[in-house]
């Protein structure tokens, strides 16, 4: 192995080496936590997820077991803190268990669409020319339909159910994510470090996975986190229309549907599932907005 070259003119090598290395994501977190709204949103989301996961520990009521004698109790009733629904089922229990399905039906489609959309987008962006053009025009065709309408049409043809609603929403979200991934990829592939990676003799797969993906991840992640809010609303919407979770399964959208007849009796109780859909969706949107700012490196100076 070669000797090191004695070097003059490298200023303050020793002192520089002491500076703590910190990655891009360290900086992102620094910026993120300066936004109090976003931190609160993150806290709310964590709380909802934890409560959904720990539902059996937080309530002793069975979300499916009704009690005709205690229908539509108001909020604050002893034993039923959030009241009961039209069949006398405990609202707190139903909201907690319902959160599981609502979150699942909202997040899973975005997760799946992100994986597939990113693969399609990066490949078209990297390959360019014919492959890229063909793939992206196919995406554009899907893009032409309004998201909710396409999802409804798909579930209607596949048959109602949570699995089909997740599948339909995944397919609906693939084109926009693919488009974000493709445009991000096209910006990155012209950078010299991608060329440098190709010069080094790396396979196309390694270049995409090691060099490209970490750089296109940020815009995709920001976009996907914003989609979760929409996805939760859409999933609840499908359930509300009777295309998602089937009663008596607790799910926020389905609960809204079954409760709506009682809106003049217990308006606050009826609004609860809607409130949770709203809060979760807004929290994801706030998170996404702050992430957009926090992930943007262009505002920072280099040295």
């Amino acid at each position: 192995m070669q000797d090191t070259i004695p070097l003059t003119l490298v200023p303050s090598r020793e002192s520089e080496a002491v500076v703590a290395p910190h990655s891009y994501y360290d900086e992102v977190w620094q910026r993120f936590r300066q936004d109090r709204t976003a931190v609160v949103s993150l806290g709310v989301l964590v709380l909802i997820v934890v409560c959904a996961a720990a539902a059996p520990l937080l309530t002793s009521h069975d979300p499916l077991q009704g009690d005709i004698a205690h229908r539509l109790l108001s909020i604050g009733t002893a034993g039923h803190i959030l009241g009961t629904d039209e069949q006398g089922r405990d609202m707190l229990a139903r909201l907690l268990y319902g959160a599981r399905l609502s979150l699942l039906a909202g997040i899973v489609p975005v997760f799946l669409a992100t994986i597939i959309g990113t693969a399609i987008g990066t490949v078209s962006g990297y390959a360019g020319r014919v492959i890229g053009a063909v793939l992206m025009r196919i995406m554009d065709v899907c893009y032409a339909f309004p998201a909710i309408l396409l999802a409804i049409a798909m579930v209607a043809s596949l048959g109602a159910g949570v699995a089909n609603s997740i599948l339909a929403l995944s397919i609906v979200f693939i084109p926009p994510i693919a488009r974000v991934a493709e445009s991000a990829t096209r910006q990155i592939v012209v950078q010299e470090y991608i060329e440098a990676a190709r010069v080094s003799g790396a396979s196309t797969f390694l270049v995409i996975v090691d060099q490209l993906l970490p750089n296109v991840f940020s815009p995709i992640f920001v976009y996907a986190s914003g989609l979760v809010g929409l996805s939760i609303v859409a999933a609840s919407g499908l359930s509300y229309l009777g295309l998602g979770a089937a009663p008596p399964t607790p799910e926020w959208g389905a609960m809204l549907n079954s409760l709506q007849a009682s809106i003049y009796v217990q308006p606050v109780v009826v609004a609860l599932p809607g409130f949770f859909i709203f809060v979760t969706s807004v929290a994801f949107n706030v998170l996404s907005n702050t992430l957009r700012d926090a992930l943007d490196v262009k505002g920072t100076t280099r040295n």
């Binding site: 070669q2 090191t4 080496a17 500076v19 290395p21 010299e192 060329e195 010069v199 080094s200 090691d210």
Partner: protein, 340 residues
């Protein structure tokens, strides 16, 4: 200890060129919608030799085909025509594996230190990536990365840094370290210092020179800065619109440029010494569009000595002095030679 490049000494190391390029040609189609409306002639009939351990400088205005030539040699772009042999082997043709092998032997230092280093990877990962691409184990990569960083004048602790924590000069050192990771024998430097401050330029150029001596590297040094090329190169190629117009030793070019274009280029270097200043011959007009290059000699539209023949015939490379090639009709009396 890894050895990526051991092939034994070449039998005629001193007499045969290390890198030999003949009649290299590349045209880029220009498309309007689906119709091809023409071609940009980026590199046209370029020939040169580089000897082992020497530096060949390539100068010319932007758009003259310098960088395209570099990318053709690395097969980042496939040439339309021409022969390239590197260390006695023809590098044209051959599949993916041969390109990989070629790229072990030829590496490149890029122009912009900020965009040529991956911002999401640590410095160490950036430097180690070529080794990862060639399947070298993690521990070995790690060890070698530290050696490389120190070789280019950085500290081994810099491996854990991220690009945004380093200066342009430091990043260019990282760029060089990465280019050396596979122990190449030919390094193509594509404007390696043009994005840096003057003071940093000198450091990086000296580093490149030291490394060349120590590792017996051969350089292809591309720049538009004549002073930098003079400092670095043994031989110089002057390019204009995809053609080589003059090829000679660095010393000869700066002492007595023969081609009118080289003469203008050299007279445009600012000189500190007032006595040495000559009236600056400036070029009139813009560089012609490579889409529709002038017939005959491509420089004729801006040449102060343009004659009738210049529009009709493309000048061939002649050697008015031994080892000094020039493609210009002013030297038509000199018998033709193949190349410099």
């Amino acid at each position: 200890m890894i050895d990526l490049t051991e092939t034994g000494p070449a039998p005629f190391a001193e007499s045969t060129p290390f890198l030999s390029v003949r009649n290299l040609r590349k045209q880029f189609p220009v498309k309007l919608g689906f119709r091809k409306t023409g071609y940009v002639s980026a590199v046209d009939d370029v020939s040169f030799d580089v000897m082992k351990g020497e530096t060949l400088g390539i100068v010319g205005e932007s758009g003259c085909g310098k960088s395209t030539t570099a990318r053709l040699l690395l097969r980042l772009i496939e040439p339309d025509d021409g022969q390239v042999s590197f260390d006695g082997r023809d590098i044209r043709g051959g599949g993916r594996d041969e390109v990989r092998l070629l790229r072990r032997g030829i590496q490149m230092v890029f122009q912009d230190p900020y965009t040529s280093v991956n911002p999401r990877m640590s410095i160490g990962d950036n430097v180690a990536f070529p080794m990862k691409a060639h399947g070298i184990g993690k521990n070995e990569r790690h060890e070698r990365t530290e050696v490389l960083l120190e070789q280019v004048g950085l500290h081994r602790h810099h491996a854990s840094y991220f690009p945004h924590q380093m200066s342009g000069g430091q990043l260019q050192r990282v760029n060089i370290a990465r280019a050396l990771a596979l122990q190449p024998r030919l390094v193509i430097c594509d404007e390696p210092v043009s994005a840096l401050d003057k003071s940093i330029q000198a450091q990086v150029l000296n580093l490149l020179k030291d490394l060349q001596e120590q590792l017996q590297l051969t350089y292809l040094f591309i720049s538009h800065d004549l002073n930098v090329v003079e400092y670095m190169s043994d031989h110089v190629l002057v390019m204009y619109l995809g053609h080589v117009v003059e090829a000679c030793s660095s010393e000869a070019l700066y002492r007595e440029p023969l081609h009118p274009y080289s003469q203008v280029l050299l007279s445009s270097i600012p000189k500190v010494d007032a006595e040495a200043r000559e009236p600056v011959a400036s070029l009139s007009g813009d560089i012609p569009s490579p889409l529709n290059p002038p017939s005959g000699c491509r420089f004729r539209t801006r040449c102060p000595f343009a004659m009738d023949i210049c529009a009709k015939e493309r000048p061939i490379m002649r050697q008015p002095e031994p080892g000094h090639g020039v493609a210009c009709h002013l030297y038509d009396t000199v018998p033709a030679t193949r190349s410099a």
